[in-house]
C-alpha cells in the first residue's frame, strides 16, 4: 500500500486574492483548517503529492484539449496569475519525472491520459499548495481533468481515472499522497460569483463522504449546470479521489464564503 493520504479541497483564487475582502470570522478558521490539513498530509511522510485539479486554461486550451493530463516535469512554476491579484508570489515547485513516467505508464493501461513535461500552475493548484505545502518543498505530480472546455469527460470516466491513479500509486514503491481540488456549486468569474447552492453542496458532499459511487455518478451535466453552475463541473476531481481512496470521507470544513465564490471545503478520505 503506497497511497498514504487522500483528501479534497477548494482552490478558488479569492481564498488568497480576495482574503482582505472576507469576514475574518469566516476566513480565519478556514485558512487555519487548510493549513492543518497540510500538517496532516505532511505527517504521513509522502515522497510525492499527486495533485488532481481542474485548471482554467493554465496549460490546455481548446486547440488541443486533453480530457486527462499528468505532468512529467522536473520542475513546475506558478502562479500564472498576477501575484498581487492572487496574493501568491511566483515560485517553482519540484517534480519527479521518473515517478511521473511510471505512474503515467500504469494509468495508460486503462485511461488514455496525456502527459506534459511543461506545466504552469494556475490558482487551481497553487492555492491549495500555498496552504498544504507552504514551503513548496514536496515533489508534486500535477494532474488535470478538463472541466472547462466542453465536451467534458463523463463522470463515470472520472471514476475510472481515479481507479487508474490508485492502481498506479500502488504500483510504485514511493509513498504517494493524493489531493483532489475543485469547487462544488459555484458560478465563478461571472456577475453571479458568490452564488452558492448550499443544499446541493451538502448533498454532494454527503454522497462523497459515503463514497457512494452510484449516487456520485448519478448527476448529468445539464443538472450540474442548472443547480451548481459551470463551476460545478469540477466535481469530477472529487469523484476521481473517491475512486482512488475507496474508503469513507470525513468532512473537515464546510463553510460558504461568497466573496471566495464557493462553499470552502476540506475533506480527508480513508484509504482502503
Amino acid at each position: 500500500m503506497s497511497l498514504v493520504f487522500a483528501g479534497v479541497c477548494s482552490h478558488a483564487p479569492g481564498i488568497t486574492g480576495r482574503a482582505h475582502l472576507a469576514d475574518p470570522a469566516l476566513r480565519d478558521p478556514f485558512h487555519a483548517a487548510f493549513r492543518a490539513m497540510g500538517d496532516e498530509l505532511r505527517a504521513t511522510k509522502p515522497d510525492a503529492l499527486v495533485l488532481v485539479g481542474a485548471e482554467h486554461f493554465g496549460n490546455f486550451f481548446m486547440n488541443n484539449m486533453p480530457a486527462y493530463a499528468i505532468g512529467m516535469g522536473a520542475e513546475y512554476s506558478g502562479p500564472i496569475e498576477d501575484s498581487a491579484w492572487i496574493g501568491i508570489a511566483k515560485t517553482r515547485i519540484p517534480g519527479n519525472p521518473d515517478l511521473s513516467q511510471r505512474l503515467i505508464t500504469e494509468v495508460l493501461q486503462t485511461v488514455d491520459v496525456s502527459f506534459a513535461e511543461e506545466w504552469l500552475l494556475d490558482h487551481g493548484l497553487i492555492v491549495p499548495l500555498n496552504f498544504l505545502t507552504p514551503n513548496y518543498d514536496l515533489n508534486i505530480i500535477p494532474v488535470n481533468i478538463n472541466c472547462q472546455g466542453p465536451p467534458l469527460t463523463p463522470l463515470h470516466r472520472a471514476w475510472a481515472f481515479g481507479e487508474a491513479l490508485r492502481r498506479a500509486a500502488d504500483s510504485v514503491p514511493e509513498r504517494i499522497a493524493i489531493i483532489a481540488t475543485g469547487g462544488i456549486s459555484h458560478w465563478p468569474a461571472t456577475p453571479d460569483s458568490g452564488k452558492i447552492n448550499v443544499e446541493w453542496d451538502r448533498e454532494f458532499m454527503a454522497r462523497w463522504a459515503r463514497n457512494d459511487r452510484e449516487a456520485l455518478l448519478a448527476y448529468s451535466d445539464a443538472d450540474i449546470y442548472r443547480d451548481a453552475g459551470q463551476g460545478g463541473f469540477e466535481i469530477r476531481t472529487f469523484i476521481s479521489l473517491a475512486a482512488a481512496a475507496r474508503g469513507a470521507g470525513a468532512i473537515r470544513h464546510f463553510q460558504p464564503i461568497p466573496i471566495f465564490s464557493v462553499t470552502c471545503t476540506l475533506g480527508v478520505m480513508e484509504v482502503i
Binding site: 475582502l21 496569475e81 498576477d82 468569474a189 456577475p191 458568490g194 459551470q230
Partner: protein, 108 residues
C-alpha cells in the same frame, strides 16, 4: 462570431509576458494576428470587459484580462453587469448571468 479567436487571444495574453508587452507597445500588429470580427477587435482594444463577457468569453479567461487592465474585483463584476444591461444576455458559452442585475450575491 469568432469567439474561439477572442478566447485564444485572452489565453495567450494571460500566460505570456511577451504578449502582455506587445498589447501595450505593438497592439495593432498583435491584434491583427487573430481573426477577430470588428466588434471583437474593438472590444479588446478598448478593454470593454462587459462586451467581451456578452460575446461569450469564458470568465476564467476574462477575469485575468480585467486584472491585467487594473480593474479591482468589484469593478470587474460591475462591468459584466453593465455589459449585459447595454448589450443584452450573454450570446454564447457556459458563463451566462443567472442573477438579477442588482443582486450582488457576494456584496460586490
Amino acid at each position: 462570431m469568432s469567439l474561439y479567436a477572442m478566447q485564444k487571444f485572452l489565453y495567450h495574453l494571460n500566460r505570456d509576458a511577451g504578449v502582455q508587452t506587445r498589447f501595450k507597445t505593438d497592439q495593432e500588429a498583435l491584434l491583427g494576428e487573430y481573426p477577430f470580427t470588428d466588434e471583437e477587435r474593438s472590444a479588446i482594444a478598448s478593454g470593454d470587459v462587459g462586451l467581451i463577457y456578452v460575446l461569450g468569453a469564458n470568465g476564467q479567461l476574462l477575469m485575468h484580462f480585467a486584472a491585467y487592465l487594473g480593474m479591482p474585483w468589484p469593478d470587474y463584476i460591475a462591468s459584466m453587469r453593465e455589459g449585459v444591461a447595454k448589450h443584452g444576455p450573454v450570446r454564447a458559452g457556459v458563463y451566462a448571468m443567472t442573477t438579477a442585475m442588482n443582486e450582488k450575491v457576494a456584496g460586490v
